[in-house]
Each structure stands twice: as C-alpha cells, then as structure tokens.
C-alpha cells in the first residue's frame, strides 16, 4: 500500500508501478475534475500540483508522489469559498467550454504562489503548456492579474 496525500486527505492505495497519477485520480478515486486531452504531455489539461509545483499528471507515476502533497482542482476552494484564481476566472469571463480550465487554474495558481505580480511574458510562459482551443488566453491573463492582486492583498493581511 502506498500513501498518497491528495487535497489534504490521506489515502492508502494499492498502486501498480506503471499507474499514472492521472489514472489514479480519475479512475480509482473518481476525482474527475482533472481532465486530459492527449495523455502525452502536450496539452496541459491534466495539470495538478505536487508540492506546489504544476506537474502533468498524465506522465507522472502515482507511486512517485508518495508522501508529497498533491492538490487537484477539487482541493482549491476553502469550504464554500472559491480560491481567488477560481473566482477571477469566472469574473473575467476566462471560461468557455471549460475543459482546459482545471489545468489552466492549477498552472495559474502555481505561478501566482511564486509570483503574485507576473509580467505579461511571465504569464505567457507559465501557461505555454496549457492548450485552450476556445482561446480564452487574453481573458485568462486578465483573471491571473486580478487573482494575483487578491492573493497578495490576502497575504499582507
């Protein structure tokens, strides 16, 4: 049995060596908020956070995440309170079909945790791995800027 800490909950899972984090999240634990669109590390849709870093769950072996803090889209809100990034995505119309959004939000959060005031270039590079075919990129940038301000203000309280 391998211990995984997902969204602050402890799981003891019987994992096969080849199982990816994506498979474990979606197929074993029913955490279907994390999506995938290619399963070959090209689209960013499956992005989750491992120890605060954005990783592609489709190419991350679940067993390698033992003992590390894993956060998925389901673990971002604080009770009924959306995370500032989630709220900003709604407020700025950064959502169309929404399929890329869980991954997009996780990449954005990873960026903002390090750097709440990213430049345009920093945002573009941080999200380069996340495809959005509806191409909400401009509105996503707006959302990130706004969320960053919110997160910075919350920190300084």
């Amino acid at each position: 049995m391998i211990p995984l800490n997902i969204n602050k909950k402890e799981y003891q899972l019987d994992l096969k060596g080849h199982e990816t984090l994506l498979e474990v999240l979606r197929d074993q634990l029913g955490l279907t908020g994390t999506k995938t669109a290619c399963e070959e590390s090209e689209c960013g849709t499956c992005t989750v956070l491992v120890k605060g870093k954005a990783v592609l769950s489709c190419i991350t072996l679940a067993a390698n995440c033992a003992g590390r803090e894993i956060t998925t889209i389901e673990g971002l809100a604080d009770g009924e309170q959306l995370h500032p990034v989630q709220q900003a995505f709604i407020d700025h119309g950064a959502v169309q079909c929404g399929f890329c959004i869980p991954g997009m939000i996780m990449s954005s959060k990873a960026l903002l945790d390090k750097n709440p005031e990213p430049t345009q270039e920093e945002m573009e590079y941080a999200l380069d791995g996340n495809l959005c075919r509806c191409a909400c990129y401009l509105k996503i940038f707006d959302a990130i800027r706004a969320a960053g301000k919110e997160m910075k203000a919350a920190k300084s309280l």
Binding site: C38, E40, C43, Y137
Partner: protein, 786 residues
C-alpha cells in the same frame, strides 16, 4: 393558505440583457464539478473500442472475431452483420444521394480508420488486446489521396458512382462572360486553403446503454446537436425517435466536429444491447480524433473577377474544389456556403462559380467553425485587395463602393435586414488609425490590412424546419427553470438564454436554472451550429418567458380586478403600465399564482422558426437566415525579413452583433475566433501521408495557438438592433475567424510587398516569396538598365 416563498434570490442581476453577468455554469467549471461526457461512469460499465481499417481503400472479404470473442473479459463484439446496414448523412434534405456512410461498413473501407465493427470489454486494456485478435481479410484496392488526382478519369473509384465528384454545384447569375469583357480590369488568382482539425480538447466520447427489456436506448454524449444525433441513432438502429434519448453533458468544445452522430455513438448502443444492457463507454484517443472524426475541407479556390475604373465590381467567376475525404458528411452544404457567402458581402449582378465536392481516401471532411467561410474569406478578401490595387484604388474605398447595404435583397434572394458592414469598416479603420499607417510603415516592414465578412444565424439545413423550442417553468419557490433544446458547447448559450429569460420575465438572472439539450426532457432544437442559438433559440426562449409572464399577470389582474394588458413585470416588481405604480413584488405575485384558490402552475412555452427559404440548389436562390451578421477586421503586422516570422502587432474586429446580450461573452467569442483564425493563418495544416493518414495527427505535431504570442485584440461591438433578433441580437460565434487570414495576408503585402496565396503562412513560404520578389525586382532592374 398561501404557500410561502422559500428561497431568497439576489436582486443583483435584474435587467441582465446587455450586462456581463457571470456564466451560469462558471462555478461548476472552475471547481471541476461540472460533468462532461468524458466523466460519465457507471458500475459495470464496459469500455468499447472501434475496429478500424488499416488500409485506405479495400474490399472486406471476411471478418473473423471468434478468437476475440473467447478472450477473457470481452463482453460483446459487433460487425456489419449485427446491423441493418442503414446509411446516414447530414445533407439528406438537399442532396439525398450524399447519404453515404454506414455506421459499420460492410463491404468496403474507404480510409484508414474506417469502422468495421467494435469491441466491448471489461476494461480498455482488454478491449485493445481483443482488437489484435480480430482477423480481417481484405482485398486491397488502389487508393487516391490527392483531391486533383481523385477528379481525373480513371482514378480509383471510392463510391458506387460515376466518378469521385460527389456533388457539382453550379451557381450562376447574370451574364458574367459579357460583364468580364466590359470590365476595365480583370484578374485571376488561385488560392489554397489546407485541411485543418477542430481539435476540441474534450475528445469525442459517449456512453451508450440499451435497456434491452424495455427497448430504451440512452446516449450520454458530447454533442453539439443532440436532437440530430437522436435522429441518426434512431434511423440507423431502426428505432422510433422516442426510443432513443440523447443526453448532452457539458461539452468540452465542438467547433463543428461534434455536430453529427459518429459510428462510435451507434456502436456504444449496439454493443450495450449485445452485452445484455450494460453501459458501454467509447472515448477516442487523440490519434483517433485526428484520424476518424471530422476535419475541415482543404480547398482550392480559383477566382477571376472584373472591375470598372471607378471601382465597381462587375463580375465574379471561379471554381472551388473541396477535398471531402471518404464520405460526404456536411460537405455539400459547406461547399455551398463557401461560394454563397460572397452575396452577403458584395453587391454583384454577374456571377458564376462552380463547386466540386470530391471524395478522397482520407479522413472525412465535415463542418468546422466558419463552415467553408474561412477558406472562402481568405481567397475572396485577398482577391479584392488585388483587384483594388489593379485599378489603383484604396482597398477601403473599393470595398465601400461594393458592399451590401441595409434592407436589401441580394441577387440570390437573401433578405438583408440590418447591415452594419459600413459602420464596422468605419469603426475599424478609425480605431486602427488606418490612413496614418497604410503604406506608410514599409521602412519598418510593418503593414496593415483589412478583411470583411458576413455570416448567417441559422442555415435551413434540417429537413423542412430549423425551429427551436423553450419552456420556462416558474416554480412555487420563486426559482425559474429554463428548458431549452439548444446545446451549450462552451460558447455560453445557457447563460445568454438565461439572461433573455430573466429580462423578458422581468426578474433577476440569479433566479434562473437552465437545463439544455436532453432529447427526453427539453423541447426540440436543431443544435449549436451556424451561429444560430442566440438568434433562433433566443427567440424561442423570449417567447416562452413572455408566455410565463402573461400567465402570472393574468392571475394578478384577476385578483386585483385590473386589465392584464395594463400590467408588466419589470425588475422583480409587478407594475401598472398606466401610471408606473408598483402593485406587488414578483414573489408576492407568485404566492398568488400558487395560492389555494388559484393553484396555477406557471409553464411558459415558446417555439420559433425563422422566416427563411431554403436554397434551391438548381438556381442558387434562397434566404437561408432570419438575419445576417457582418464584420470588418484589421490586422497590423511586422515581418521579419531574416527569419520569415510575422509578428501580429494588433487585431481589430468591428462586429455587427445586433445587440450584445452579454458583452464579455461576445468578446470571448471574438477573441477565440481570432485566435483560431491566427492558427489557420500561420500553423494549422493537417497533412496526409501516401495512405491518407494524418501525418501530423497529434498535439506535438499539429500546432495550435498557445498563450505565447497572443496578440492584443480590440473588439468593437456595432449594435444594429435587428428587428428579428431577441432584444435585437444576432448570432456571432463564427464570423470573426472568416476574414482573419486575408486581413493578415493583405497586411503582409502592405508591409513587404509579397502576396501569399497558400495557407498557412510559414516562415519558409515567406522567405521564399521575399526571394522571388527580390529576384523579380533585380531582373526588372537589369532590364531597365539595359
């Protein structure tokens, strides 16, 4: 006793039309709680996989599934012998002979990926292993991949027809030969627009279940048109329409690729029947997405037109060859749209174009956002700039002289009501500072270019009607349920339709709940395509909300002994229109409706079918849409002559949207369309190898626009308040990508003087064109010096 209102609703969003209210499904999406078909699962659910042809063209001699059937974990296998062999297609109303695809092919396969059957097993691994145990004997036939080769006499014959040209579409008006003779300037240009892919992030995925004892089929689908999917399923499965229920889940993007039933939808249901009613999930992987769903037509677009010295466009002639792939799908009407859009944009009396929709042994071309208009927009708008240059006229002045106007009937009988094209051009050139830039930044290798376009909102392509229906149910607790057949595929139609409901009913948007696209629960709707939902489904929803309001006001009038015609509900209050006095709150009015003595359920209904006439394909005449949308787009570019790279400095899109129901959503559609247009201009090109397989069918090799390099975009909304639109609104989900490639091509020409006629504009093509230009200039220079 009066039932008390249980819920309290925020009044934050009264009068929501024209406001950027948050998406009705926003919280579900950003928390991952929204369920897509991709996420649907059931206990004992089986996993299905399609048996696909490895050959581009072959006769099926035999299929032996016996080894696979015995394989541990396999629960069902279907091949053509399990089916009724019924063909399906999407243009059966206009072109019955193009209904040419079987859900499971029985005699021949016509492209690599063509479906011969399907397997259901306890898990994906088992299903994939079972595929390897199926033995198919083929007689391999010669294949043809190139569209021009496929048109030649003696080319391998793909279907049982005279040749590979599935449809010839001649469109003739006036006397173009005479008009060309009388023109002062005539030029001919040949353009090439390649195949591309919708590449929606959510793959095609479905769960089918056949309740074998009650003979009831349910499909949980990722669909843009659940009612069309139901029709095709019922037809091919030989069931009654109401034996089939298609439930549209949240859809992770469609862009035209999810308009039709695919063989996998059929297979999931039939596998379920064979497996005794267990649900079966089939999900395409990305390779299958590129290979065996739908793609955009590659088109060869030839134009020969004539103009007078004063800039009057006298004749347009030409030819369009559309690479259709193995089956017809929506192809014939895509081809028609690629030709007939010209009439919405330019006043023209003499016209002749012939379209050819051609079979090849490649993946099936269908509808993709823009519906032929992207390929046409590139060709026509590039050609117009060249015609203007040929007579030494400014491209803006040339367009202003020839564009369509409000309240006119085009040569092919399209009825244009409001038409903001002129205003769009004026606003786009003002915002972009056109006249201070055009031709004046060559020293910086910078240029500016324009493209204009028009689009329909609805397309008269579904049998004899294209109606939408809505139901607005006002509950005892004050909540309002909107049931619409429209399919929100991510564009936000549930939000827009909910805004229309709230506005017309006179209540806050926060009261509205929306259920869309479930064929057993919601009224009929043809689906999300042709930018029709805001306009057609919006009108149906408006009528349903109006009906519900009328029912409430009838009760209030009876109670207060007033005339219902004098009453209205506005901003959550029932008012008397005579003196604007407030009679009671909306909640109070509802209490009354549901009070003991009235007990009146409030169920409003609306049905809308635009007043249109289908195109008569013998004459090319018809009025396909209840209104038409217009736009002007300007691109400013900087060309790096060393690397061949083009930097987009800014894009402007001035768009006649009638009325922006949700401005933020309109911006989202424009920005997304432009990005898709940029993708098609610079990188998207679905190539095929000698077996007709996608040569770059994955996200590593099929490049899509990403966050890096997204240019600034200025959206200018032109509100023409269309008399036929709900609150004056028009549809607008597709138009913004029609002229993007041409606006950029024209800007590149302005910057460095090269004319690009083949998409996409990759750096190597730009370098090559610059070299050719330099070579021509040197030769011309040396001639002059001699």
């Amino acid at each position: 006793m009066v039932t008390s209102i249980k819920k309290t609703f925020s009044k934050k969003y009264v009068n929501p039309v024209g406001k950027s209210v948050p998406r009705i499904d926003g919280k579900g999406i950003v928390t991952g709680q929204t369920k897509y078909a991709f996420d649907v699962g059931f206990p004992n659910m089986l996993v299905g996989k399609m048996i696909r042809s490895p050959h581009p063209h072959a006769r099926i001699i035999s299929i032996d599934t016996s080894r696979a059937e015995k394989f541990h974990g396999v629960r069902a296998i279907i091949t053509a012998k399990d089916t009724d062999g019924i063909k399906f297609g999407s243009n059966e109303y206009f072109f019955p002979h193009t209904v040419d695809q079987m859900a499971i092919e029985s005699e021949k396969v016509r492209y690599v990926g063509d479906e011969l059957g399907a397997v259901a097993a306890v898990d994906e691994e088992t299903a994939l292993e079972a595929l390897n145990l199926i033995d198919v004997q083929y007689e391999i036939l010669p294949a043809v991949v190139d569209v021009q080769e496929a048109m030649k006499p003696g080319a391998p014959q793909i279907h049982e027809s005279l040749n590979n040209i599935a449809v010839i579409l001649p469109v003739n008006f006036g006397n173009p030969d005479r008009a060309l003779k009388e023109a002062d300037y005539v030029r001919e240009d040949l353009f090439f627009a390649p195949a591309a892919h919708m590449a929606a992030l959510e793959p095609h995925v479905c769960v089918g279940q056949w309740e074998t004892f009650s003979n009831k089929v349910t499909l949980w689908a990722s669909s843009q048109a659940p009612f069309k999917c139901r029709e095709a399923l019922a037809k091919t499965l030989k069931l009654d329409l109401n034996d089939v229920r298609v439930i549209k889940m949240a859809v992770g993007g469609g862009f035209g690729g999810k308009l039709e039933m695919l063989p996998m939808d059929f297979a999931a249901c039939l596998l379920s029947k064979k497996a005794g009613g267990l649900p079966v999930k089939i999900c395409c992987n990305r390779e299958e997405e590129f290979l065996a769903t739908r793609r955009k037509h590659g088109m060869i677009y030839k134009l020969k037109s004539g103009v007078k010295k004063d800039g009057t466009l006298v004749a347009i002639t030409g030819e369009v060859i559309a690479d259709g792939g193995a089956y017809c799908s929506y192809g014939p009407t895509v081809l028609a749209a690629a030709i007939m859009r010209i009439f919405m944009v330019y006043k023209i009396q003499h016209f002749r174009m012939t379209g050819y929709r051609v079979y090849t042994n490649t993946p099936i071309s269908g509808a993709m956002r823009g519906f032929g208009g992207v390929q046409a927009g590139f060709a026509v708008e590039s050609h117009m700039d060249m015609l203007a240059e040929g007579i030494g006229m400014d491209p803006i002045a040339f367009r202003l002289k020839n564009i369509t106007t409000p309240n006119m009937v085009t040569i092919n009988k399209m009825v244009l009501t409001t038409n903001g094209l002129r205003e769009c051009i004026d606003k786009a050139i003002a915002a972009s500072d056109w006249y201070n830039k055009r031709g004046k930044q060559k020293h910086l290798c910078r240029g500016i270019g324009i493209g204009i376009a028009a689009d329909v909102m609805g397309s008269k392509m579904y049998k004899s009607h294209e109606s939408a229906g809505s139901i607005v149910k006002v509950e005892e607790d004050g909540s309002v349920y909107l049931f619409t057949g429209a399919a929100d595929t991510g564009q936000g139609s549930n939000t827009v339709l909910s805004q229309i409901t709230a506005q017309e009913l006179g209540v806050s948007y926060s009261r509205i709940r929306c259920k869309s696209g479930d064929t057993e629960i919601t009224p009929f709707d043809t689906g999300s395509f042709a930018s029709r939902v805001t306009f057609i489904s919006g009108n149906a929803t408006l009528l349903a909300a109006r009906d519900a309001k009328k029912q409430i006001l009838a009760i209030v009038a009876e109670e207060l002994k007033l005339n219902a015609d004098d009453l209205d509900i506005q901003a959550e209050e029932v008012i008397c229109l005579k003196d604007r006095s407030v009679l009671m709150s909306f909640d109070k009015a509802l209490e009354l409706c549901y009070a003991f003595n009235y007990g009146k359920q409030i169920i409003g209904r609306g049905s809308y079918n635009p007043k249109t006439t289908p195109i008569d394909f013998r004459t090319g005449e018809g009025n396909v849409s209840g209104s038409y949308g217009f736009e002007a787009q300007i691109a400013e570019v900087e060309v790096n002559k060393e690397t061949g790279e083009v930097n987009i400095l800014k894009l402007w899109d001035a768009h006649d949207i009638g009325k922006a129901i949700n401005p933020q959503s309109v911006e989202g559609q424009i920005e997304g369309s432009l990005a898709m247009g940029l993708g098609y201009t610079f990188m998207e090109n679905l190539r095929f190898d000698n077996k007709g397989r996608p040569a770059n069918g994955n996200f590593a090799n099929y490049r899509l626009p990403r966050s890096i390099g997204t240019p600034p975009i200025e959206c200018i909304m032109v509100e023409t308040d269309d008399p036929n639109g709900p609150f004056g609104a028009k549809g607008m989900g597709e138009a913004a990508l029609l002229p993007t490639a041409a606006a950029i091509a024209n800007a590149i020409y302005d910057a460095v003087g090269i004319r690009l006629k083949e998409l996409p504009f990759t750096p190597d093509k730009i370098i090559q064109a610059l070299k050719e230009k330099e070579h021509l200039e040197t030769t011309a220079g040396s001639h002059a010096s001699r």
